[in-house]
């Protein structure tokens, strides 16, 4: 291996790939049965975290950053004056194996700029995955990017080697896409998604009858949307997201606060702040939708188009629905318990188990680990002292804010950080 040359390529092609936020390596079922290398049947592992605190689980690189497209939001766009490089297929294979054997990574996340045409690019990505599986007997995790416009045949083949496939929608609305990526067609994004979805359904049916049916993308598919590049409301973004979850059985939709990469007048200028708080609130909303039984229309709607940045979306919803509270922690059904601010999934399960033994009081709840500062205004339990509840929602919000120390507080109250 020519380490100097590889190092230079790695610099360029890892740097260009980093705006893809997905780094998940969970949800696959690939076991190491043949005494080969790797196993991706367990939960995902973050082997390290970047200095901005993001999980590093996969070797995330582009095959090349040469690209025929000129999407305004993308650092790799044709018109951008940057260093270009390309890995050979074998180089990516060797790098992946060497990193994996040292326990640096769970596998490979391979994406690419589009060179020549979509099919030509997709073929190269598939070659890497195929070599890893067939020549290296590699059972680690492989995430391949579906290239918009790639043919159905290639998408079928890709899923035979990859654990996950994804195509990034990037711009949540059609009109936004037209503005920022005029060369790309909305349908080109949807076509591979549709194909992958159908293949997964077919695999699930066939594998019930014939156990040896080759696996097809066992970790499903995902997509990503840029947040804050164009003027979409939180409602626009989350309704798109709900659509993708439902229509294409997405495993995940990722939200990526836009990091300015150009001085294009259509976009936030270089040096503008990355909307990290907003990104965080969108993820919280996503979780409420997927794990807490909320319908997205309860959280965002015509009257409430943008999330409250000061408080989490569950608390915000609860403050708009005071008539449902307080609930008795010792009797309330799971569905509603999940909706109490300050009580997460794990606490819900602990409470459900623990209350079978005895009635729970404040002391128990505190020890179990629920966030009392938020929860106490929405519940009753087996204690005589109760929280006063004549506050208006606005007063209650201020009271909770006053007694909390969230990680984003400094972003919200600039006047406090003067000294």
């Amino acid at each position: 291996m020519n380490f100097e040359r590889i190092k230079e390529k790695l610099n360029i092609l890892a740097d260009a790939a980093k705006y893809d936020v997905s780094c998940s390596s969970s949800g696959s079922k690939r076991k190491n049965t043949s005494k080969g290398l790797g196993d991706s049947s367990g939960m995902g592992i973050c082997h390290t975290y970047t200095q901005d605190g993001r999980c590093v689980s996969l070797l995330k690189i582009l095959l090349t950053n040469h690209c025929i497209f000129d999407c305004a939001y993308c650092v790799t766009r044709k018109s951008n004056d940057i260093k270009r490089a390309a890995f050979k297929v074998q180089e990516v294979v060797d790098l992946t194996i060497s990193f994996y054997r040292r326990n640096y990574i769970e596998g490979l996340f391979l994406s690419s700029g589009i060179f020549k045409d979509p099919d030509y690019t997709m073929e190269r990505l598939i070659q890497v995955a195929k070599k890893l599986r067939e020549e290296e007997n590699f059972n680690g995790y492989i995430h391949l990017k579906s290239i918009p416009g790639a043919s159905d045949e290639l998408m079928r083949e890709a899923g035979l080697y990859a654990d996950r496939l994804s195509v990034n929608i990037e711009v949540p609305t059609k009109s936004g896409l037209k503005l920022l990526a005029p060369d790309k067609k909305h349908e080109d994004f949807m076509k591979p998604m549709e194909k992958v979805k159908n293949e997964i359904i077919q695999y699930k049916q066939e594998s019930k009858l014939i156990k040896s049916t080759p696996k097809y993308a066992p970790a499903g598919q995902s997509t990503q949307m840029i947040v804050g590049a164009t003027g979409e409301s939180d409602r626009d973004i989350m309704y798109s997201s709900a659509f993708f979850y439902k229509k294409y059985n997405m495993k995940r939709v990722y939200y990526s606060g836009y990091v300015p990469v150009s001085n294009d007048p259509r976009l936030p200028a270089l040096g503008s702040q990355v909307p990290m708080l907003r990104e965080n609130r969108l993820y919280q909303t996503d979780w409420l939708m997927r794990f807490y039984g909320f319908d997205i229309r309860e959280l965002l709607n015509e009257n409430f188009q943008n999330l409250d940045m000061e408080i989490d979306p569950k608390l915000s919803w609860a403050l708009r629905n005071r008539h449902l509270f307080p609930v008795d922690i010792n009797r309330v059904e799971k569905q509603l318990l999940l909706r109490v601010p300050g009580i997460g999934l794990k606490s819900v399960n602990k409470i459900l188990q623990a209350r079978k033994f005895r009635k729970l009081n404040w002391e128990h709840l505190k020890k179990i680990g629920i966030s009392m500062n938020r929860a106490k205004y929405f519940i009753t339990c087996d204690s005589r002292e109760k929280e006063l509840r004549e506050y208006s929602s606005e007063n209650l919000k201020q009271l909770i804010l006053k007694n909390s120390s969230g990680k984003f507080r400094k972003d919200l109250s600039p006047q406090l950080s003067l000294f």
Binding site: C46, Y49, G53, R101, R102, M276, L360
Partner: protein, 258 residues
């Protein structure tokens, strides 16, 4: 009933033997301690308990009958924490468990059950961290070698993970603190105790022991780690929360040599 301090050999079976004797002799333990950590206590009797396989098997069965697999794992994990006094914590939970017919593992409002669940969670986190932060360095004789110093005794817990993952390479993970390791010879994993050379170090930089190309791969990894960072999103606090400083010595991406 007499007050007794029980001394055992530090093994899980030894601990279970203590539990057996406590119930058989109907004694009130004031402490259960591994050999070497005993303290002078003039108010209690001191019993040395010999590990007895038939005793420990009976207690083990008694525990497993009353807990789910997951609940039993919590007992095992908490024991491996080696925290001072954990044996008494376990005894108190087991005593509560034996006193009722309910499956007590979900009784989080009982302080003993909650305590064991909390300790087990810490050990589980350390196990997961070791699965993440172990960095193998290739030695001259083609062995993938890693040195660790975990807070808790997690080697027995991580062995199956590494065995199923690295089935086609020889590897060794050595616990520097507890002076034993696990070694996979392409067939099975064994616990081993060896004398490591003083200068072998965490970094894998010493070419006396490590493959010539090894340091290059560490450099590539470090390079990747730097390139994948997004500067405008810098968040040092979050970084250090996920990768606490005490683990940095394992990590090639933090190594001054790479």
């Amino acid at each position: 009933m007499s007050q007794v301090t029980l001394i055992y050999d530090g093994s899980f079976n030894g601990f279970l033997s203590c539990i057996f004797r406590i119930y058989e002799e109907k004694i009130q333990p004031v402490a259960i301690l591994p050999v070497g950590e005993e303290q002078q206590d003039i108010f209690s009797e001191r019993w040395e308990i010999t590990t007895n396989e038939s005793y420990s098997t009976r207690v083990l069965k008694g525990i497993q009958d009353r807990l789910s697999g997951n609940g039993f794992n919590k007992i095992k994990y908490a024991f491996l924490s080696e925290l001072p006094g954990v044996e008494m914590q376990l005894y108190k939970m087991l005593d509560y468990m034996f006193s009722t017919n309910n499956k007590v593992e979900g009784d989080y409002s009982n302080p003993h059950v909650l305590k064991i669940a909390q300790i087990a969670k810490k050990v589980g986190r350390e196990k997961h961290r070791m699965e993440a932060f172990v960095r193998f360095r290739l030695t001259r004789d083609r062995l993938y070698f890693a040195l660790i110093e975990p807070d808790f005794n997690v080697l027995p817990l991580i062995a199956p993970h590494f065995k199923s993952r690295y089935a086609d390479q020889k590897w060794m993970i050595y616990d520097q603190k507890r002076k034993f390791g696990i070694y996979y010879d392409l067939d099975k994993v064994d616990f081993i105790s060896i004398k490591l050379p003083e200068d072998i170090g965490f970094s894998g930089a010493n070419q006396k022991y490590f493959d010539i190309a090894e340091i290059h791969f560490q450099q590539l990894w470090k390079e990747y780690f730097i390139s994948t960072n997004i500067k405008s999103r810098a968040n040092k606090r979050l970084h250090e929360q996920h990768v606490p400083k005490r683990y940095w010595k394992y990590l090639s991406e933090k190594s001054p040599f790479a």
